[in-house]
Each structure stands twice: as structure tokens, then as C-alpha cells.
Amino acid sequence: MSAAPLVEMIGIEKHFGGIRAVDGVSIDLHRGEVVGLLGHNGAGKSCLMRILSGAMAPSGGEIRIMGEPVSFTEPNDAREAGIETIYQTLALADHLDAPANLFLGRELKTRFGNLDDRAMLKAAREVLARLNPNFKNLGDPVSSLSGGQRQVIAIARAIYFDTKVLIMDEPTAALGPSETAMVAGLIKELRAEGIGIFLVSHDMHDVFELCDRVVVMNKGRLVGSHAIDEVTKDDVLSLIVKGELPADWSARNLTQAAQHA
């Protein structure tokens, strides 16, 4: 693991007028690592992720992908660098069908530059079947699909292409239990493939089950970055709410080790 991290964000700033939405945040992500990003609404975590996905330009700071400095001016730049995002809103065009959404902005074309709908349908059928075998109505506009199916399209779009980094913004917020389990399984699978994942979530249970590390933001600042076995849920809650660890905190795994000794 001596290679450069997959993603390094160094001293990222984002100001809206006088408000510092992201205030000098540095964060990194390695291959095959799942990092949970937590914080209140408005703590700046979505803002930070939008900067990484190219949807928002930072006011300052530097982003490096595998050691190389990059600058994203639009979402396409980030996608070309292998950064895919599953937005909380899913970012689907409701009037288009599943294949059209899956390939939106990256349409497959025939030799003559026409849309190759047949190839897109075929590819969509394969990737969607992998995530949800019951997904059959591919020709319907996505507005008529269930929340779970829509989520599956958004996920498929993020993993179909050559993905190195995956940003998941509240991926399970709109899902039922079985679909949540599917997403959890998928995250483990992708981690095993060496993909780095930022998981933005409010669900402490998910975070502790899936993440290797938690990063907590509070009022635009980064207030804590801990390996998951160092902290308890209460510690993380304290970071989220107060912006600091409990006064008597000591690393959970070390404490346990000490007790065993």
C-alpha cells in the first residue's frame, strides 16, 4: 500500500459569499477502501463530494488522482478520471428509458454516428440483470419505475464504466431491506475488486458494517478521521453533533487490547 492514494483532496475550500461550506478539508482514499463520510445536513459533505465529482468547482485546494494533480471543470472530467457518483437524487431523466439513462452523456453510436439503441439495450439488460434479475421493463420511461429499480439504474450507471472511485450519496435512503442488503453486498464486491468508495450516509448501522474508516465533518471542517475499529457509534455521534470526541475518549481497539493484556 505504498503506492499513491487513489484520491487525495488537499485543503479543499468552497465559499458561497461569506459562508465557508467546505473549510480547508483534506481527505484521502485508497484502493479497495470504503470511507464513510458523516455529518449533519449542511456540514459540507455533499459539497465536498460534488467537488470531487466535478459538479462544483472548488474555491481553493488541490485534487490528486493516483498522485497526479487534476482539475475538474465539469462532471465529464471526473468521469474520465474514473470517478463515478451515485447521487442521492439519482440524477435520472424521467422521460427516458433505462438504457438511455444508463448511457446518458456516453451514448454508444454506430459507425455513422447514429445512436446504437440496440447495443445500449443489450448492455443495459446485462448490467441490470446482474444487480436485479427481475428488471425486465427496460423500455419504460424511468418515471414509471419503482424507487428500487430507479436506484438500480443509478448504480448500474456508476459501475458499468471503468470505475476506480465510487461516490455513493445516501445510496440506501430510499430502499427497502432486501434492496439495502443488495447494495451492501455490492459495496463489498466492489471493494474486493479494488475500487475505492466514499459512502455518504446517515445510517450508523450501514457505516459500521461496511466502512473501513469514518471521516466526520462539522460546519465545513473535518473534525475526525478514524479507523472503524477505533471508535464506537457514540464517539462518532459526538463528532457529528459536537465536532469533537468525548473528553475521556481513547481508541476502542487499543483499550480492548489493554484490557486483554
Binding site: T89, A91, H95, L96, R106, N114, S144, R157
Partner: protein, 341 residues
């Protein structure tokens, strides 16, 4: 399994939206047939080849405007400037002819002027972030004012026979000379404007359905933010739609002025409403993401036939306005019903 359940769901609530779109177009087509049948019964002259060709001619202008309008409406916008841009383009072409430019490049200049107005609209909307309604309302005044200022509000006439060819010529026109020296028109031919409309309609329909830009136009109108996050260059897509709308308005202006062989700076007032009505009657949704060229063509013919039929039935121009007004409200009302959850 899903194939078996599909027809059933078409009629169910979940299938309402896709079924609703085709239903809308079907009802428009039915309206068109009813109109034709009704007018044919009320006036024997209505259902003749000559009148059919007249309708084709009259509809070609609304149709060209409607096609451009459809592109804009599908992106979720609106273009109120097409009537004025039509006038300005015709005036530019006529002035070029008067300045000694041959007809074809002169008309090209007119269409280019229309495209430039459309591009201006697109830039104002995307760069200055001004809502399409306001931006194109401004262009409506600017283009009309320019057309009036350039001509001093005086029509430009005496443009020569070649200028009238696009609007008055016809393909496959068969004329034989009678022994008494008078011409006898056996078949009046297919008017060039109708052929132009067909070509443009097929080309734009192809663009919308089979090309990437068409898909991006739908995506932009469906969910602009989603399209942007998916890597669609939303601003460029909108710019394209407004430029096309302007260029097609320019083309329509040239067809119209060519038919009159006179450039009228006051021509095309309220034409934008006909174009919007054609698109909406044809199933385009003013909230974006929905619309077809075939639907707009049906809508354009409904308006063209309504105008023509009312004329043939001797209904006054004032009453015609009232009728078309109700038709526009009715069409938008249907759009509202369709979008209600």
C-alpha cells in the same frame, strides 16, 4: 413473463404515462380527421385538390416554425421570438436581393440572420441565466424593431420572379397549352414549401430520435440537473435548440416572403402562438422532455385546416381568432391534465 403482463399494464395506472403520450397524439389525429370531415361536409370546395394544396402552402410556414418550437419546448424552454425573427429574416433576404446578391445566397443570409437571432436567444438564456420566456420576449421586440427600422416600415417589393420561386413553384406541375392559347393546368404540382416542410420534418425527427444531440435535448428538458451531472453539456444543447428554432423561423420567413414576392416587416405577428399551439396540440409538454415532430405536424395541420376551413365557411377573421384562442387553451389544458399525477 413480463411480455405477457405488459399489455395489461398499458391500461393500468402504472402504464398511464407511456399510453397517455400516444393517446394524446391519437386524439389529435382524430380531431384532424373530424375537422376535415366537418369542413368537407359544410363546403364542397374544401375537399378539392386545389384547396388541399392551398392548405399545404399555408401550413408549411406554421409547420416550419412548429418544428423549431418543438425542439425548444422539449428542452423545457419556449421561443416567443419566432414571429418577429421570421419577419426580420425575410427583410434581410429581400434587402440582400435589392443589393444585387443572387437569390440563393440572399435567402441563405436571411436564414443565417434567423439563426443568429436564435443563437443570441440561446446565449442570453444560458450565459446570463435569463428565463427563456423573458429572453425570447426581448428578442421578439428586438427582431421586430430591427425589421421595421431597416425598412422604415415600408414593404420591400419588386424582388423579381426568382425570389418568388421558393414560395410559388411546384414540383411535377403539368400544364398543357390549349389551342386557344390559354394554359390548362392538368396537375398543379406539389408546392415547394410542402416539399421543404417534409424534408425538414424528416430531418429533425431523425435528429431527435437517432442522434446524440436529440437524446440530449430530451434529457435536458426531462431533468436539467440530472442531464448536467450525467455529462450532458446542457448549455450547448440549449444553444443548439434555440439556434435551430431561429434558423427555421428564418426559413419560414423566406418561404412566406417568397410567396408574397414582397418582404413585409410586419408579417408574422402572433405566429409564435400558432407554432406553440401546433407543438402543444401535437403532444409536446410545456414542462419539457416530451414532444414529437409527427405530433407537431398534426398540430400544425389542425391549425392550418381550422383557419382554411373557417375561411371557406365564410367565418370572419375575428371569430377565427376566438376559435383558435379556445383551441390553444384547450390544448394546454389537455397538457395539464396529462401532467397531473
Amino acid at each position: 413473463m413480463s411480455d405477457a403482463s405488459k399489455p395489461a399494464s398499458e391500461f393500468g395506472l402504472s402504464g398511464m404515462i407511456p399510453a397517455g403520450v400516444s393517446l394524446h397524439r391519437l386524439s389529435a389525429l382524430l380531431t384532424l380527421c373530424l375537422l376535415i370531415a366537418g369542413f368537407a361536409l359544410s363546403s364542397p370546395a374544401f375537399f378539392s385538390i386545389n384547396n388541399g394544396l392551398t392548405i399545404l402552402l399555408q401550413t408549411s410556414v406554421i409547420g416550419l416554425l412548429g418544428i423549431g418550437m418543438t425542439l425548444v419546448i422539449v428542452t423545457g424552454g419556449i421561443d416567443l421570438s419566432v414571429g418577429s425573427v421570421l419577419a426580420l429574416s425575410g427583410v434581410v433576404s429581400a434587402m440582400a436581393v435589392k443589393a444585387g446578391v443572387p437569390v440563393v445566397p440572399a435567402m441563405g443570409a436571411g436564414v443565417a440572420a434567423g439563426a443568429a437571432c436564435g443563437a443570441f436567444n440561446g446565449l442570453v438564456i444560458t450565459k446570463l441565466r435569463i428565463p427563456p420566456f423573458v429572453a425570447t420576449l426581448g428578442m421578439m421586440l428586438i427582431a421586430r424593431g430591427l425589421a421595421l427600422q431597416l425598412t422604415g416600415a415600408i414593404p420591400i417589393s419588386g424582388l423579381g420572379e426568382a425570389f418568388g420561386l421558393l414560395g410559388n413553384g411546384a414540383l411535377f406541375r403539368v400544364v398543357e397549352m390549349r389551342p386557344n392559347g390559354f394554359p390548362n393546368v392538368i396537375f398543379p404540382g406539389i408546392p415547394y414549401p410542402a416539399i421543404l416542410l417534409l424534408i425538414v420534418a424528416v430531418a429533425v425527427a431523425y435528429l431527435l430520435r437517432r442522434r446524440q444531440i436529440g437524446r440530449h435535448i430530451f434529457a435536458t428538458g426531462s431533468n436539467e440537473e440530472a442531464a448536467r451531472l450525467s455529462g450532458v453539456r446542457v448549455d450547448r444543447t440549449k444553444l443548439y435548440a434555440y439556434t435551430m428554432s431561429g434558423a427555421l423561423a428564418g426559413l419560414a420567413g423566406n418561404v412566406l416572403m417568397s410567396r408574397l414576392i414582397t418582404a413585409q416587416p410586419s408579417e408574422g405577428v402572433m405566429a409564435e402562438l400558432d407554432a406553440i399551439a401546433a407543438a402543444v396540440i401535437g403532444g409536446a409538454s410545456l414542462s419539457g422532455g416530451v414532444g414529437t415532430i409527427s405530433g407537431t405536424m398534426i398540430g400544425a395541420f389542425i391549425i392550418g385546416i381550422l383557419r382554411n376551413g373557417l375561411n371557406m365557411a365564410g367565418v370572419s377573421a375575428f371569430i377565427q381568432q376566438i376559435v383558435i384562442g379556445f383551441v390553444v387553451i384547450g390544448a394546454v389544458w389537455i397538457d395539464q391534465i396529462r401532467n397531473r399525477p
